[in-house]
Symmetry: C2
Subunit: 260 residues, 2 copies
Amino acid sequence: MKRPEELDIVLVGAGNLATNLGKALHQAGCRISQVYSRTEESARTLAETLKTAYTTSLPALKNDADIYIVSLKDSALAERLTEIVSGREQSLFVHTAGSIPLNIWEGRADHYGVFYPMQTFSKQREVLFREIPFFLEANQKKDLDLLKRLAGIISGNVYEATSEQRSYLHLSAVFACNFTNHMYALCEKLLKEHNLPFEVMLPLIDETARKVHQLSPAQAQTGPAIRYDSNIIDKQLELLSCNPQMRELYEIISKSIHNL
Amino acid sequence: MKRPEELDIVLVGAGNLATNLGKALHQAGCRISQVYSRTEESARTLAETLKTAYTTSLPALKNDADIYIVSLKDSALAERLTEIVSGREQSLFVHTAGSIPLNIWEGRADHYGVFYPMQTFSKQREVLFREIPFFLEANQKKDLDLLKRLAGIISGNVYEATSEQRSYLHLSAVFACNFTNHMYALCEKLLKEHNLPFEVMLPLIDETARKVHQLSPAQAQTGPAIRYDSNIIDKQLELLSCNPQMRELYEIISKSIHNL
């Protein structure tokens, strides 16, 4: 059985997740032998970082890699599955999306799985993989073992999860990350409208995140909505009268806080 | 002119903010000579921590303190202003609320101000005051100077702000903290419903917060809503079909992300 560092890995995709995952595997001593992206520039940029070859054509993918890590947009993945697998049916194929079930590969490949690192990735920013939870799934036990060993060389938090569990993890992550970041974005918009710098919010943002390491979010909740202080709530709705969409959000989130 | 450590400080209130602020001032060497709370237990607990006296009666407040830091619920503050000031008109009165204008004191006290530490406070948790931004306001220049020196011994981020600016800072803080924490709480609720531990979300929560130190929230946004990936959005709405309120929130926040 090959060690993870001996595997021949092909990266199909060069977006935020593929870029970060590729770098982490490369730094851990893994061998990425080819990168694919539809966009030449993305493919070349990532291939240069990983000191490897690239292609912009799926038929030009190598045929003999041990594992194809497919990190395309969900819609693109569905469309290109056949092209990705075709001629490489003996290899192991994994996708990296929280929202896509394992069985998308069924009837196409013999060996397939899911390799989902639950984190928010941007190309401009390097993240610490050691703490990122990986959720794995595979149709064959020995492939699951291989995925565990591969994830284990970059992360200390490797779990198995069914497709159903993963769909709820991904949905929860949308709340914890994407929606949270949108709260920051609305905050930034408000401050900008009143010539105040976003930076003053950083200690509050940090403490809000740190706090839920110690208290449950329900215990950690503060502010006018939890007490349903209608004095403050009405005043703040008034301050948002020029922002009807933010006003609506303010109202509905405050109610939700109070109800929870 | 007295040094901050020489001031005779009375703390009116023993809630989350008063408790944390009192501890920080005490640890910095300030002299809190009395604590008031309507609730005997809160008053006694905080007084013991600060090694000082307490009362549960406003008329029994000392008359000769240099500064009264008033940290009551907004509604309680409005109701008890007269009782707090009466007989102590020569002293300096400050409140600590983001949402209450300076002029609430007008016509009652001669010296008054605002001493607003923008942070989320819970009694169970100690926070680092050094990084907390303080926003100050006073009706007299020399009182503003005194507040600056007092805030300066516990925090490195001391600013002046008008009542109008402060109202927008407080509103922005509601988005950055209270609403953000609610996103964590909804995430926790979802995970609990599916027997998944909230702890797996902590690396994602931390990275989401750290990310906006480097990228603006608008640049940092990831996830299905920013791409308006209706495939994933529809699937996730489906997963929320048993939670009509979360479903509504999911829909409206996703639209807001896409619009911004």
